[in-house]
């Protein structure tokens, strides 16, 4: 398609053409109306003055005689201008005036007529038109008074010329404007098309241009960009999952395989074999757990679990999880405290949120070593894990706070990433997915996971939207 062809076919240009035609028709109609009205006005003016003059002349004729009339007529006839006069005797003979010739039968018709005429002082060929009125005077005389219509004709010509000019101007300007607008819009659409093609070709980082004017096209581009952002994040997540599966599931698999080989090579007694097999089952259980957690995260992030959401009190699930972990914590020398003074309604997946909380409490128990007893014990913070539910504005905050070593501010973002295990915790068993699972569950609920300093210790907050409806 040629550039011009594309331009002409564009919606903007076609729209311009339609407007142009409407505008031109409108301008033409306006001028026609104007012309008609002007013509009528001129005619009215002529008839009025002619009527006045005839009345005056008739009076003169009545007061004086036809001689006085002819004198006046002769006088007026000498004046230059557009007025026509003729007085005829009863015989039909012209006796005064400036009319050289008239259309046939005009003088015989009493009243108004439009006629061609020639003035007395003009050559035979001259031809004008005039509006005339003939009156019958007493004694058989007739009086004709008229006005030349040249003025009306001239006015008409001017208007027709103006009409032609303005319509031409409208068309030229309209076309030029149409081209301009169409090209401008087309350029922006072309940019959008180009970017989308690039994105489809695989470059997901591309974004549509936004001019900043804030018009419809900008809004569309911004929405599409948001959509691209989401798609990119999903794709990134997918890639991360596969990378992590490849990388991190292979480690325990290798370990498992090594144990098998080791057992084959060095086990002697039945109990050696039994021990090796038990190790392997334990190792594969760990693998299954990691795998389940990964699937769960993937599912939470894809938003599939949204179907099973109900409204419930967040304090309820916090109670449940606290109660489940309290004996374990106590065994490790930690107290579990609940701080849920009032109900806080949320809309969510009870099971997933409980699991996320359970992961956080499990982490807290693992990493929050109780303070060693001994000197200076009074100054040390109590060994406790605090589960709290708070409503702040339109958010419901579920938090798990411990008095352990905490996570340095610099490491906090990384801690939420999949499989990230901070160096100091490498000795603890676990898939390292607890925080990322909690973060995925928070996002699924339209909330977020925050790591805060509990001074000392770590405070993990799941901030969820409050659901006042209940």
């Amino acid at each position: 398609m040629t550039a011009l062809g594309k331009l002409v076919r564009s919606t903007a240009f076609r729209l311009t053409l339609v407007y142009l035609v409407i505008f031109a028709l409108y301008a033409a109609a306006l001028l026609v109306y104007f012309a008609l009205n002007t013509g009528r006005l001129i005619t009215e003016q002529i008839t009025e003055t002619v009527d006045d003059e005839i009345a005056e002349l008739t009076e003169q004729y009545t007061i004086g005689s036809w001689r006085q009339l002819t004198t006046i007529i002769e006088n007026r006839s000498l004046r230059p201008g557009s007025s026509l006069y003729l007085v005829t005797a009863p015989s039909g003979q012209g006796i005064a005036g400036n009319v050289g010739s008239l259309g046939p039968g005009v003088i015989d018709k009493i009243g108004w007529s439009e006629t061609a005429y020639r003035r007395l002082d003009e050559q035979e060929t001259a031809q004008h038109s005039a509006l005339v009125r003939v009156t019958q005077l007493s004694g058989g005389f007739r009086l004709l008074v008229g006005r030349d219509l040249e003025e009306r004709g001239r006015m008409r010509e001017i208007i027709v010329a103006a009409a032609r000019g303005s319509v031409a101007l409208v068309i030229v300007l309209g076309l030029a404007g149409g081209f301009f607008v169409a090209r401008r819009v087309l350029r922006r659409f072309d940019a959008v098309t180009e970017t989308t093609q690039r994105i489809m070709a695989g470059d997901l980082s591309g974004r549509l241009p936004v001019t900043g004017i804030g018009d419809e096209l900008d809004r569309l581009a911004m929405n599409l960009n948001d959509m691209l952002e989401r798609i990119e994040a999903l794709m990134r997540g997918l890639k991360e999952v596969s990378d992590n599966i490849a990388h991190d599931l292979k480690t325990p698999l290798t370990r498992l395989r090594n144990r098998c080989e080791d057992a084959l090579r060095s086990a002697k007694t039945e109990s050696d074999y039994r021990g090796a097999l038990e190790d392997m089952i334990e190792e594969s259980d760990g693998l299954i757990r990691t795998f389940d957690a990964l699937l769960m995260i993937a599912r939470a992030e894809s938003g599939q679990a949204r179907e099973n959401m109900t409204a419930f009190d967040a304090a309820e699930i916090v109670h449940g999880v606290a109660e489940l972990y309290e004996p374990l914590a106590e065994e490790k020398g930690l107290a579990v405290k609940l701080d849920a003074p009032e109900p806080a309604m949320i809309q969510g997946n009870r099971e997933l949120l409980s699991q996320a909380l359970a992961n956080l409490v499990d982490n807290a128990i693992k990493y929050a070593r109780p303070v060693e007893s001994g000197e200076g014990r009074a100054e040390k913070p109590p060994a406790e894990i605090v589960l709290a539910v708070r409503q702040e504005g339109d958010r419901v905050l579920l938090s798990v706070a411990d008095r352990g070593p905490g996570i340095p501010a610099a490491d906090r973002t990384r801690a939420v990433e999949r499989f990230a295990r901070l160096e100091q915790s490498a000795a603890e068993p676990g898939s390292g997915l607890g925080l990322s699972l909690a973060a995925a569950v928070a996002r699924l609920h339209g909330g977020e996971l925050r790591l805060e300093d509990n001074a000392p210790g770590l405070k993990v907050v799941i901030a969820l939207p409050h659901s006042p409806g209940g």
Binding site: R289, L295, N308, G320, L324, P327, N349, L352, A358, I365
Partner: protein
């Protein structure tokens, strides 16, 4: 504390009646493994490799429990179960599936399954669940009180007594003991406890259940000569009257 509260898995097998099981599973290796493992513990298991054939076998109703995989050739597992239930065959069904998420589970139970076990599973877990299902069918339903040895639990008055001693339990401990006693003489796994006593279907990483059990144990067994609450190695827990 109490010296003898741990049992070998084999030791729990003495008192079980043999069951007839039907395994509908398209993976031959998995099915062979199950048939063999069930035979070893004294049960008889038939195997069917697809949904149509499995449904035909299950329709005669002679089995104690059906073990149904979800993804099967010819007819999928859930539709086999629905067809059975539509024909008023109420044989208990345990669904085995690689789809282990909560909503998959809900779907399975809604289709008429009685229990749902995600793959991969341990045989001990499967066996424990199968035996609970079979017993449920045997007619022992909800009772108002349970008794194991000299331990007595009254569901109406929410009270627990061992011999003449009144035992004070927290509400959750009561429910835990209630579940164990309802299935007295049967192995109950940690997952079963988590599902039935706490209503959680996720894996809580650390074995939180063990700590709850040891608390309960210290309340009901401590100070008594005969332990009732036993740990079954590699499987779970069992409450039973050791003297029997």
């Amino acid at each position: 504390m109490t010296p003898d509260n741990s049992l070998d898995f084999a030791a729990t097998r003495v008192q079980h009646k043999p069951m007839r099981l039907l395994i509908i599973e398209d993976d031959r290796d998995a099915a062979d493994y199950l048939v063999k493992a069930f035979r070893e513990v004294g049960h008889v298991a038939d195997w069917s490799a697809d949904g149509e054939d499995g449904l035909a076998l299950a329709l005669d109703g002679a089995y104690d429990v059906l073990i149904v995989d979800r993804m099967l050739p010819k007819r999928d597992g859930l539709s086999v179960i629905s067809a059975l239930r539509a024909k008023k065959i109420e044989t208990p069904v345990l669904i085995l599936s690689a789809l282990g998420q909560v909503d998959d589970r809900v779907k399975g139970l809604r289709a008429g399954g009685d229990d749902y076990l995600p793959k991969p599973y341990s045989f001990a877990e499967l066996l424990a669940r199968i035996e609970v299902l079979a017993r449920r069918r045997g007619g022992r339903g909800e009772e108002t009180s349970y008794r194991v040895g000299d331990l007595e639990l009254d569901r109406l008055s929410h009270s627990v007594k061992r011999g003449a001693t009144e035992i004070d339990l927290q509400p959750r401990e009561f429910r835990l003991l209630e579940y164990l006693m309802k299935h007295a003489g049967q192995v109950v796994t940690r997952t079963m406890l988590l599902e039935n006593v706490w209503d959680y279907h996720f894996d809580p990483q650390t074995n939180v259940i063990d700590v709850h059990i040891s608390r309960l144990r210290s309340k009901i067994d401590k100070g008594f000569a005969q332990p009732l609450l036993h740990t079954v190695r590699g499987a779970g827990y069992m409450i039973r009257d050791g003297a029997r």
